[in-house]
């Protein structure tokens, strides 16, 4: 089995790493958002994994309780929770990422309550006052974990967790930067698998796998038979098949801007500071999600920088249907891309892959536009 194939094993919600972890009698917590600091959970010797809804086929409960105008990711998650698909989790952590996520969490609490749950009130803007509040939220979170799981999350344990997570970030960035090459050593589809693995298995093992992957591709010939270099940006995306469709049509996804992507690993947590201060600062100050008011210029600049650095020919802006935050964000990004004369394609999608034929037609057309430039 190649290293890449090992990464692919993390795709199911319950993967072999989680099974091994649980066999040791250790706990697993599911999280709904990249604003929840995994480091605190890991410092409690609990495995944090990102909640996904892979395998969801229909959403009758989601439609009824969250309504049909809620995004399909949240409807799928409620369905999965109701069907006990998350029962391997020892609890769930959420925050006010967006209105749909916060109400999903409410409905899960009422209709399919997990054994443990906690909610973080993450500020919607960034300044000294709000960072200080976020530290307060993180402290409450740490204390709740300590109390509920009878663990001690000392500063030293937090520092160790931060180091391990920073190592992941450094390795991910190292791999990610190789995509700048004219012949990148890794496809966008494989990169997404790695990013999914990053939020689905214990970090030490992930770091080991990723180090091996970096060694394996070192000096190897990269991918050069592509028509255009693509940036993929937009709503929460965790389906490698979506990227695969773009790549099968000749677009090589070389960079991205969504919550599992660079936002997660672009910068490191400061290891020299008090760990709770460092975490609060890091999570509030890094490249933000559209939920963070006042940071849109910063986000757009980040996207433009990535476009330049990764020599992007065109941008695919994917937006999950009914996603308010990303619709607004894409409205702002489009304005900038037009100013810079960077071609883009706007795609609406559902969480569960559907309308593949229509998507292929539009991506094909976009590739032709890019090739003709």
């Amino acid at each position: 089995m190649t290293i890449l194939e090992k990464f692919y094993q993390s795709i199911p919600l319950e993967n072999p790493w989680i099974e091994s972890w649980k066999k040791e009698g250790k706990k697993v917590l599911g999280t709904f958002c990249s604003y929840i600091p995994d480091e605190i959970i890991y410092a409690a010797d609990i495995l944090p994994i990102r909640i996904r809804a892979k395998g969801c086929a229909e959403t009758p409960m989601g439609d009824a309780y969250l309504t049909q105008t809620a995004c399909s990711f949240t409807r799928c998650c409620l369905e999965m929770a109701n069907r006990k698909q998350y029962n391997f989790l020892d609890g769930m952590i959420s925050c006010n990422s967006c209105d749909q996520i916060r109400r999903l969490f409410d409905n899960i609490r009422f209709k399919a309550p997990p054994p443990f749950h906690h909610f973080l009130s993450v500020p919607g803007n960034v300044n000294e006052t709000t960072i200080d509040w976020f530290k307060h939220e993180l402290t409450k979170f740490k204390e709740t974990l300590e109390e509920n799981f009878s663990v001690d999350i000392s500063d030293n344990k937090l520092r160790d967790a931060i180091k391990i997570y920073n190592k992941s970030r450094t390795l991910l960035k190292e791999l990610y930067m190789l995509r700048k090459n004219t012949a990148p050593p890794i496809s966008g589809t494989d990169m997404m698998n790695i990013l999914l693995t990053n939020v689905s298995i214990p970090k030490e093992q992930f770091n080991e796998l990723l180090s091996q992957q970096l060694q394996e591709i070192d000096g190897k010939e990269g991918i050069s038979d592509y028509k255009a270099r693509i940036m993929l940006a937009g709503s929460m995306l965790d389906d490698p098949d979506y990227v695969k469709i773009i790549e099968e049509l000749g677009g090589l996804v070389v960079t991205d801007a969504y919550c599992l992507g660079p936002r997660y690993f672009w910068d490191n947590v400061d290891e020299t500071k008090n760990p709770m201060d460092a975490l609060a600062n890091y999570y509030m100050s890094r490249v933000s999600c559209p939920r963070m008011a006042g940071r849109q210029s910063n986000r757009v600049e980040h996207i433009v920088d990535l476009i330049k650095e990764f020599n992007v020919d065109g941008v695919i802006l994917q937006r999950m249907k009914f996603c308010a935050l990303w619709w607004g964000e894409i409205f702002i990004i489009r304005k900038k891309l037009k100013e810079l004369n960077i071609p883009f394609l706007d795609l609406e999608r559902e969480y569960v892959m559907s309308g593949v034929g229509a998507m292929k037609t539009r991506v094909q057309g976009f590739m032709e536009v890019l090739e003709a430039r």
Partner: protein, 438 residues
């Protein structure tokens, strides 16, 4: 209003107000014509003057600050700014069926659609594009209860380059008895209130006059007290006021809180309710059904509530906005004034009920149904209102299970008459009231 007053206000609407105030003028003239048939009461006077105040601010170069419906503008008033509640447009244009063309323009511009982003905010994007809405000098918002506000103000900023300040509003409660109590929430909100003042001072190159601020907060308290008393009076059976009365109080607080005008208006309506109780007058004669309406009114259809009243002898006691839960607070010191602003932000209509866990909204529904002796709940949910729509079902279940009261929930766009028509809405309400309630 009498002819002389009507002519006076009509005259003030003559001549050009400038292209950017053309929609504002349309609303003003619509309002004056509507008010012609009404008594010239403090509400009519307050709103007529609100329109004119913005026009004068433009002429005199006084800063206009735009903000969403979820904030009492007292602090702006204390700083001599002209407050402009953004939803005045979408609510004011709805009955004139004038949101629709601007919603269409916004759609074409690519900013959202009706099921995704709220049309309380979206029409002004199209209006900006056409140059028919006034671009403010400053903007302020709190990103609650919804993402539509957060996103729309970021979009406004991109379109207009107007600077904005935003204040975070946490999930938790400040009442120690509440299961979601957080001991630091008030300090946090006070700190942010001071940050807002600092920003306003910097942007407008002036210092907040603390004495004026305290006086303003005293007026806020008076109006809050009037609203509190009014809402208590509505518990009377039969309800002493017709269905729209509570919403009027909300409009006073959201646009004029901190002014003597708001105090007069809220006192006027409170006194009317008290007088009606004394005289045995009901808002709806032969009241048969008392309806809780824990969401906003359907603004495009001004005939809906009178139709419900006449057809079913049913009274809608309060909508979610009229259920104004902000209490008067101690303002004896400046620090206490900051606290009062902070608590106003946390408790404001819809914010207090929807900013936190679902329990906030569920408890609001349960208390509302119990306190006001409600027979049925009707929740006309805006499609894009994710934060509320997605908890109405669990709230309705709680109300049914704990209090045995039925609920009708249906999707609608209160600002756009084309999405779900008046006829369809009436059919749903009629079926519910006749087959389930009566």
């Amino acid at each position: 209003m009498d002819d002389e007053t009507y002519r006076k206000y009509k005259k003030l609407g003559r001549g050009s107000w400038g292209k950017d105030l053309s929609l504002w003028k349309t609303m003003y003239l619509g309002f004056i014509n509507l008010a012609k048939e009404e008594e010239f009461n403090p509400f009519v006077e307050m709103f007529a003057n609100m329109f004119l105040r913005v026009v004068n601010a433009r002429k005199e170069g006084k800063p206009i600050i735009m903000y969403p419906f979820n904030f009492e503008p007292a602090l702006f008033i204390a700083m001599n700014l002209t407050p402009l509640m953004q939803e005045t447009f979408s609510v004011g244009l709805a009955p004139l069926k004038l949101n629709e063309p601007y919603i269409d323009i916004t759609n074409k511009m690519g900013y959202g659609d009706t099921p995704t982003l709220c049309n309380a905010q979206r029409p002004i994007v199209g209006a900006y594009k056409q140059g028919v809405a006034p671009i403010p000098d400053l903007m302020f918002f709190t990103p609650t209860p919804c993402n539509a506000i957060t996103m729309s103000y970021q979009v406004f900023q991109q379109l207009t380059d107007v600077p904005y300040f935003t204040m975070d509003v946490p999930y938790w409660a400040y009442d120690q008895l509440n299961e979601f109590y957080d001991e630091k929430i008030i300090d946090y909100m006070v700190k942010q209130t001071k940050d807002l003042i600092f920003w306003l001072e910097k942007e407008t190159n002036q210092k907040l006059d603390l004495e004026k601020f305290q006086q303003t907060m005293k007026l806020v308290n008076e109006a809050r007290q009037n609203v509190l008393e009014f809402n208590e009076l509505l518990k009377n059976v039969p309800c002493p006021m017709p269905s729209l009365a509570g919403f009027m109080n909300f409009t006073a607080m959201a646009t004029h809180s901190g002014t003597i005008e708001a105090v007069k208006a809220t006192k006027y309506i409170r006194d009317e309710a008290a007088e009606n109780i004394k005289s045995g007058i009901a808002g709806v004669p032969d009241e048969k059904v008392r309806i809780a309406w824990p969401y906003t009114h359907i603004f495009f259809d001004v005939d809906l509530l009178p139709w419900i009243e006449e057809t079913f002898q049913a009274v809608v006691i309060l909508d979610i906005l009229g259920y104004y839960p902000v209490l008067p607070h101690d303002v004896s010191t400046i620090e206490k004034c900051y606290e009062s602003v902070a608590k106003g932000v946390l408790d404001f209509s819809m914010v207090g009920t929807c900013r936190g866990n679902a329990e906030f909204y569920i408890d609001f529904c349960l208390n509302y149904v119990k306190d006001y002796k409600i027979d049925a709940m009707i929740i006309p949910m805006q499609f894009a209102c994710k934060h509320a729509y997605a908890i109405t079902r669990i709230a309705a279940e709680a109300v049914r299970e704990q209090l045995g009261i039925p609920t009708l929930i249906f999707g609608v766009d209160p600002y756009d008459s084309r999405e779900v028509t008046s006829e369809t809405i009436k059919a749903k309400i009629s079926e519910f009231l006749t087959q389930v309630v009566l």
